[in-house]
Symmetry: C2
Subunit: 140 residues, 2 copies
């Protein structure tokens, strides 16, 4: 179920509201981090005639407007998610799931600025390992 928030947001980002776009937002809202192929497969069930190009075009348009963001993950295809409060990611190398994690970045940011002399205005932090479920499976 799509909350009007997202519809409003689509509008506010000057993205014309179409059934396909609503479905994309719903998929992203409910599943979190999806690849182009994931999205396509998900949408196919609701729109048997949807074109893969439509998925690409929409994701690109939404990215352009910063309504969605790409997440590049080691050893995996890029995932896309609705833009939200800035956060880092944890990835399970076993079951491949991707989750958000909110951590304080001030300390490391200060150190990076200090060491590099760069003016930093964005960070992309990916932590890879084993999720709790896969940890127990592994020790079993």
């Amino acid at each position: 179920m799509i909350m009007k928030d997202n519809l409003e947001l689509l509008k506010s980002y000057q993205l014309k509201i179409t059934p396909q776009r609503i479905a994309i937002v719903e998929e992203l809202a409910s599943h979190g981090h999806l690849s182009i192929e994931d999205l396509y497969q998900g949408l196919l069930e609701r729109f048997p005639t949807i074109s893969l190009a439509t998925v690409y075009k929409n994701i690109n348009a939404m990215e352009e407007k910063e309504f969605v963001q790409e997440v590049k993950i080691p050893e995996q295809k890029s995932k896309y998610e609705l833009t939200k409060a800035h956060h880092a990611h944890v990835v399970c190398q076993e079951c491949k799931k991707v989750e958000d994690v909110v951590v304080s970045t001030k300390t490391i940011l200060d150190e990076v600025k200090d060491v590099s002399h760069y003016r930093i205005n964005r960070d992309d932090l990916i932590f890879t390992g084993l999720c709790p479920e896969c940890v127990v499976k592994q020790s079993a």
Copy 2:
């Protein structure tokens, strides 16, 4: 000029030593972070007949053996670098340069483990912003 260290290393990773591979290592050793296309263009000057497939095959083989590593950067094609002591990256959004930066990750790692309950064994940290040169150019 290639230092025998790298040749030894190539050997120790069971990678047969060929002129093309030596050149790839030299390129990476001297330029740091290169895309497939960067590498191909660089090698073309020394090996006018080299095939793009050779670059792909070699980089894949070297990645397989963990002799080189892929670095995924937002808004850019993947870069490759010789594997070395673990480090983070700063990227200039203006001139696109990529540099290594060594920072302490203990604090943030502990927090990520604490918040996510994941067992973390790898981190990929990319900080994007303006390099010192581009900062001055921009304020000029």
